[in-house]
């Protein structure tokens, strides 16, 4: 009790009418070791019975100082580190970093590399959404979807493994393109995967979308309005579920997303159910993008001409991409040396996590779990 009370001292107390130490209030420390906090998130809950009066997130249990490490590594050496931030979407992290440095160096990856990048990034988006769906459903008590999604995620990881040797922290891209040419049969395998995967999305939906308990558990839970999303800087599927049609792949096309035809699924109510629908629809859109990309990979080199020792001109650059969880931005300041002067990451999970308190107030304990799941946070990215 005493521990959690002391750390509560800086909670915004003025927003609650009740005095701090109320006998009706129960302070619960959820995490950092808790099955549903997706890693090491610690949430201090203030409860009235089962009702949440307020909560505070305590983060930093997975802090590895990635940004600081960036200041002591050369541009190429820092590349694998970014994979360790959002480790379930390592390819997206790599894409963001490589494109940012390319912008700084003023080089562009050759078209063939661009296509392969899009395919791998979208495959990774599928993998990330699968992991989200499985764990989110598990948090709400449906244990079976987890095994279905992990079974299918395995096929994606196999493609990654075959391409670059790693399954999770892939380090798939290099500054200026790709290190590896695609392996023989890459296109065929991706196509086979798409044929295999398309009916699987229906299988997930069959278990959940019309399930009465699922709908009751997710509808009108953790609702957040578009204004609040924008005010808090929330991006990604959470923002889109609130009805804002904002996807960086369309809004500020990077890589070669402008060549592909896809829709931005949006929701209306901004509740957990809408976020679920948006993410499932995004899976279908990703399949569409991969389908177009894999059919049109051009011939040519996979690596642009980049200097062996990278010394970008002094200056700063911000570049952001649409990671599976939202806007993933890199702000890099160069002083003209081989190492960045400053690397700043704008992680979607960290920013989205801010909305947790707002989304959970007045809801029940079980909803906190559902909302943590629906925000789709990865603590590696929150803490960096």
């Amino acid at each position: 009790m005493t521990d959690s009370n002391t750390s509560l001292s800086h909670l915004d107390l003025e927003t609650h009418e009740k005095p701090f130490l109320d006998a009706n209030e129960l302070v619960i420390n959820m995490g950092p070791q808790h099955p549903a906090t997706h890693g090491v998130l610690r949430v201090i809950l203030r409860l009235d019975g089962e009702k949440v009066l307020g909560l505070e997130c305590v983060i930093g249990y997975l802090h590895r100082g990635v940004e600081k490490i960036g200041e002591h590594r050369t541009y190429t050496m820092f590349n694998p580190y970014v994979d360790r931030m959002d480790y379930v979407a390592a390819v997206s992290n790599g894409l963001g970093y490589c494109e940012t440095v390319e912008k700084l160096l003023n080089v562009e990856a050759p078209p063939r590399a661009q296509y392969v990048r899009v395919i791998l990034t979208e495959l990774n988006r599928l993998a990330s959404h699968q992991l989200w769906l499985g764990t989110h459903a598990l948090d709400i008590g449906a244990i079976t979807p987890l095994f279905y999604t992990f079974r299918d995620r395995e096929e994606i990881l196999k493609i990654f493994e075959k391409y670059c040797g790693a399954r999770l922290t892939t380090h798939a891209f290099r500054i200026g393109g790709l290190q590896y040419e695609t392996y023989n049969g890459f296109e065929r395998e991706v196509k086979n995967f798409l044929d295999f995967f398309r009916p699987k999305i229906d299988e997930y939906e069959e278990l959940l979308t019309t399930n009465r308990i699922w709908v009751e558990r997710t509808k009108n839970v953790g609702t957040i309005s578009a204004q609040d999303c924008i005010a808090l800087g929330v991006t990604g599927p959470v923002l889109r579920a609130s009805g804002v049609k904002w996807d960086l792949r369309k809004a500020q096309p990077y890589a070669n997303y402008k060549n592909f035809d896809f829709d931005i699924p949006t929701g209306q109510r901004g509740d957990t159910y809408d976020r679920y629908l948006v993410r499932v629809a995004e899976m279908r859109q990703s399949v569409r993008i991969i389908e177009q990309a894999v059919g049109g990979i051009p011939e040519g080199p996979v690596m642009a001409k980049v200097p062996k020792v990278m010394k970008p001109p002094a200056g700063e650059v911000y570049h952001s991409i649409e990671a599976p969880k939202g806007e993933l931005g890199y702000f890099i300041v160069s002083d003209g040396s081989t190492q960045p002067y400053r690397v700043r990451v704008r992680p979607p999970s960290f920013v989205n996590l801010q909305a947790l308190d707002l989304m959970c107030r007045g809801q029940l304990v079980a909803d906190v779990i559902a909302v943590i799941g629906t925000l789709d946070i990865v603590l590696g990215e929150v803490d960096r």
């Binding site: 420390n29 244990i143 079976t144 558990r217 079980a366």
Partner: protein, 428 residues
């Protein structure tokens, strides 16, 4: 000595339960049999749940300890018994110590009146069903004690949830039970019965299982009970009291080792207990299927062969899988073990073909089969449904099941009295 033998033998010709016949020796034997049988059932249920759930979830489940993981529950039990017995420093020691025993006591005591056959019950009480409902709801006391004594937040919330849940679902459950009991009174004398054996016998004499009686009223009452009993036993999708993703483990978060295994044992035997109530009240208890339609001696013979055939089928499955085992020296013991298990099942099957044995045992077989079907449903629910939220659960109990239960009760009473009402309308 002779008197003693006579005393023991005197029961064999009786057509009563040992308790009702007042024969202490056989009552003790039955208590032991029920206790052992229940423990075996819980062990088997543990293995089956893990296997069935695993196959629903595209995985294999336990495969290492024994052939197809058959010895896994035993390995787990040994592990639990050998674990250190941890008690939180701030816990309320005596209550913490008592709680699991309370739960186990409640879960096992109800089996005193469960009728596995017309004579196969420890005793036959004239208030049997009330006794069952009453004692099985005592387990909530143990859960509240566990949650309170742990002196920790998660168990406390789990215990509160559990008690609120059990109290609200017991009402709907009771109404469903009453509507079934009303049906027992539809005989010449017009008196019903609360005795578990009497209820099954009423279904026998009326020639219909109560689930089909006054269709669809019996079915609705059964449905209400089937939902309420899942909530009553704290199982998915009503497993809020031990919601893993919310409360880590709910009321037994602070328990480990032997004490935890007692909770586990109690949970599964409670599941079997409520399933037995459902089977007794609506599914004809120990009666074989269609006792009234297919009632000539030929059908009697066919149905008396079913238990033996079932065991032979299980044995054949064992042999089939023993043949399919990898042909590697490493798997020899497992293959032999599986074949041995098959031989055991086959022998039981053969013994069940002996007319004298099958006559005495087939009641137990049909009862267990029906209960097993409920156990499968429990596993199926767990593999399919997300978890209800607390307020939704209460809403369901009070706003859906309770009115439904009341309506069914009134309609059942009306349907039962209909001949009388008709009579008074036409012949005032």
């Amino acid at each position: 000595m002779e008197q003693l033998i006579q005393y023991v033998q005197s029961y064999l010709t009786s057509d009563q339960t040992p308790g009702a016949a007042g024969n202490m020796f056989w009552a003790l034997v039955y208590i032991l049999l029920v206790f052992v049988g229940l423990s075996i059932a819980v062990i088997a249920m543990n293995w089956l749940e893990r296997k069935i759930l695993a196959h629903m979830q595209v995985r294999l489940g336990p495969m290492r300890v024994g052939p197809h993981g058959l010895l896994q529950p035993i390995a787990d039990a040994v592990k639990l018994l050998l674990k250190e017995d941890i008690m939180p420093a701030e816990a309320d020691a005596p209550i913490f110590w008592m709680a699991p025993f309370m739960v186990v006591l409640a879960a096992f005591t109800v089996f005193v009146v469960v009728p596995f056959g017309p004579t196969h019950a420890i005793t036959d009480m004239n208030i049997g069903i009330l006794f069952m409902l009453g004692v099985s709801s005592l387990s909530v006391l143990g859960i509240v004690m566990a949650g309170w004594a742990s002196n920790s937040h998660y168990p406390l919330i789990g215990a509160l949830r559990s008690s609120a849940q059990m109290v609200s679902y017991e009402v709907a459950m009771g109404l469903a039970v009453v509507s079934a009991i009303l049906m027992t009174s539809l005989n010449a004398s017009g008196t019903g019965t609360l005795s578990m054996i009497g209820i099954v016998q009423a279904q026998q004499t009326q020639g219909i299982w109560f689930i089909f009686k006054f269709f669809p009223l019996g079915l609705i009452a059964f449905f209400i009970f089937a939902v309420a009993m899942v909530a009553e036993t704290n199982r998915a999708p009503f497993d809020l009291a031990e919601a893993e993703s919310e409360l880590t483990a709910g009321f037994h978060t602070e328990y480990s080792g032997f004490r935890w295994s007692l909770f586990f044992l109690a949970e599964y035997s409670a599941m079997i207990a409520v399933s037995s109530i459902a089977v007794t009240l609506w599914l004809g208890g120990w009666l074989r299927p269609f006792p009234n339609l297919l009632n000539n001696s030929a059908w009697d013979l066919v149905f008396s062969l079913v238990p033996g055939i079932t065991f032979l089928f299980l044995a054949a499955m064992c042999f089939y899988n023993a043949v399919r085992m990898p042909k590697h020296p490493f798997f020899r013991i497992q293959t032999i073990g599986l074949a041995g298990f098959g031989v055991l099942l086959g022998l039981i099957g053969l013994i069940l073909f002996i007319p004298a044995v099958s006559l005495r045992v087939q009641d137990i077989f049909w009862f267990s089969t029906k209960v097993a079907a409920f156990m499968y449903l429990y596993i199926w629910y767990r593999g399919t449904f997300p978890r209800y939220r607390f307020d939704q659960l209460m809403q369901m109990g009070w706003k859906v099941l309770l009115p439904m239960g009341l309506g069914v009760l009134i309609l059942t009473a009306t349907a039962g009295l209909w001949p009388l009402i008709q009579h008074s309308i036409w012949h005032p």
